[in-house]
Point group: C2
Chain length 468, copies 2
Amino acid sequence: MSEATTTDLYEVTMALSYLREGMTGPATFSLFVRDLPPERGFLVAAGLDSALDYLSHLRVGPEDVEDFAAALHRPADELLPLRGLEFTGRVRAVPEGRIVLAGEPLLEVTAPLPEAQLVETYVLNRLGHQTLIASKAARCVLAADGRPVVDFSLRRTHGPQAGFQAARLGALVGFAGTSNVAAAAATGVPAVGTMAHSYVEAFPGEEEAFRAFARTHPGPLTLLVDTYDTEAGVRVAARVLRDLGRGPGSAVRLDSGDLGALAVRARALLDEAGLPDVRIIASGGLDAYAVDDLVRSRAPIDVFAVGTRVGVSADAPYLDSAYKMVEYDGRPVMKLSSAKVTAPGPKQVFRRPGCADVIALADERPPGDGTPLLETVMTGGRRTGERPTLDDGRARFAADLAGLPAAARRVRAPVAPRATVSGRLAALAADVRRRIDERMPAAGPRPSRAASAACGPLRPAAHRPVSR
Amino acid sequence: MSEATTTDLYEVTMALSYLREGMTGPATFSLFVRDLPPERGFLVAAGLDSALDYLSHLRVGPEDVEDFAAALHRPADELLPLRGLEFTGRVRAVPEGRIVLAGEPLLEVTAPLPEAQLVETYVLNRLGHQTLIASKAARCVLAADGRPVVDFSLRRTHGPQAGFQAARLGALVGFAGTSNVAAAAATGVPAVGTMAHSYVEAFPGEEEAFRAFARTHPGPLTLLVDTYDTEAGVRVAARVLRDLGRGPGSAVRLDSGDLGALAVRARALLDEAGLPDVRIIASGGLDAYAVDDLVRSRAPIDVFAVGTRVGVSADAPYLDSAYKMVEYDGRPVMKLSSAKVTAPGPKQVFRRPGCADVIALADERPPGDGTPLLETVMTGGRRTGERPTLDDGRARFAADLAGLPAAARRVRAPVAPRATVSGRLAALAADVRRRIDERMPAAGPRPSRAASAACGPLRPAAHRPVSR
């Protein structure tokens, strides 16, 4: 499929109308997450590289125009203004790996209105999905409290591409490995994994299976010990590892049952067998909650393998993301509602110690102890710098995490810091709101067309104004 | 990324060991969903085409071997047995669109053991994801009770490829359209969608926006009426549609607030304006539950647009899928546990009236009123027939749905039919279980290696035997 057509049709109908109406002035759209999902203390910005790849390659070709025309049941020549359209704009964004909070722009696009509109769906998809998964994975790292976490999610993600991202994003937030060979090869993350139950089942017994595995695979082994009876399996594994002198660096994997109790028993058996350095890996339906329970119970588990629940962010499988116009043709644009406000104008976020962030206008100077989160990553439709590496993102996440308040790091009932709004932004928002209230009271009759037009720079008002 | 490396590393380590050990006899693996998620009365089989594409193109090339070798920290020449490996096996599967139940094989692979093992991860991913989404989307169609449902999910799915599948799978179960242009072009499903709030906001007022839109787009219009005040928006839309003579086929879209109450008001306003054939489209956080509520309250909504919650199956974002060895080298293989049994041997499912399905052995004759669900779709690693069309799948789903009991179709608290097991399969399972119990009691000490080997054909026993 063409990436130009990987969009909602309405982006096309709007872009075409803007082109026909000559509405090609610069517009700024801001992409942000309105509210964090339950049980999240922070988000980890991710997906920017995918979005920039799309923006830098976007070009509406003749075949795309034909697809658009077919979708609209119109002759292709009526859609000619779209042909050759590329993204020529500027993008400011939070680099991948940085911690962000509710309401903070992850990305701002400034481009001729048709371009800025056309890219909405794709950019929302990429940043939303990847930020979702990175944020979920980060909780596992926190829960594991220093123990390695590895990704086993590929079999249950929403397609193989989502599996690739789950592996990559786990690595971004500090996972020690992934079962996904393609992702390991592409990212340099260690690949992990040894045997399934079916392997053990294919042999007359566990010992035959483990010895056969050792014949093929030199070096440390990870032996799956719960195919029949876990304690017996640990004993067999210990015997094989000892006989072969393969203890150092090796491990047993527990994939079912009461992992905490079984880990205690396995540790005792391995120690009794003179194998204190054989590690214990736990897997099977784990996520941050389960890892947290195991760590708090002091289960002697050395490595946690997380899969399905992390790869799909099972407890919160989407973000409340939005892509809102905040400026058009030099005029701040604002959305009001009884519940929430989209603050007007292009913005910057200043990170202050303890994630006491300030959301400000883009041209404000930072507070003395603040540093800007959004960086210019694209101008004139081209990337401004090198493609960032995974290590760059990892370092950013580690640094931001170190400054995150303890209450936000908790796995259960975390308290997310809330950004405040700068004085100038608050004043602008109040000014816009006042002018809207004067001319366009949300609960009253609609103003006359003339009055509405007169407040041009300061509409739009009161989107979703009253919940009735 | 190569599809050969889009796999868990352990599939590779196992396949290599099997090749080195000469364990290349035919193995049958069965892919099924152990239990349905909460609030599901049935599943809709989907994803087979993606899986068959993968199987028919799979070939472990030199670069794949290098990636495998790097993952294992071994020289590539030690992995030479994997080089050139292709899938040469046979696949029997439930065609896309058919309704399936818990425990029923969606697909069975019979191939040399290394091949049958290597493909596990990818095939689980594809069938699991697509069956998940098709099953979720089907509930929306049931909830809408004959009213059209369209897909708006692309911005929130787990990557653009998942968005494509959401659109395609919605169409499979009867959606009337999708906002996703690429999916519409590829599948022939109608594309839908007209304007966002940002479009209305870009003009001095709603009327200017609607009139500009009408200038660019001839024919029926869908006007978004809730940017400022919904009732006022409906009045403006009615005026514009009437003035321009564009009522027939046109619609207004409600995207926020109390959709039921707003639809009643909008319907009255449109009727008063002499526009009884202007339809009302509702969107905004809808899924089967919300659609069900609106339909039961007799809200005058003509079309439901569902998005995020359906595209990610938000209430149950993964299936409890499994890919289990059921036969190796002519011997039935079985997994026992205190909670659940993997029945041995290659299987067939016979659909009887009312989804009173019987799971039987593959070589059994159907009961008089039963027809087989699994069909041979690949032999010798090649597809046996034409690539099925979306229309084929649609027809299958519609036919199966017509035979589904009313209790299984309910949106809330559905009761899923349970398949029964044929006499022969039950007898084989009992025989295998008895022999395992004799030789390998789950709670007792492990049998001697000789005893274990002697029960060769009938192990493996008691995987996940005791929950402690």
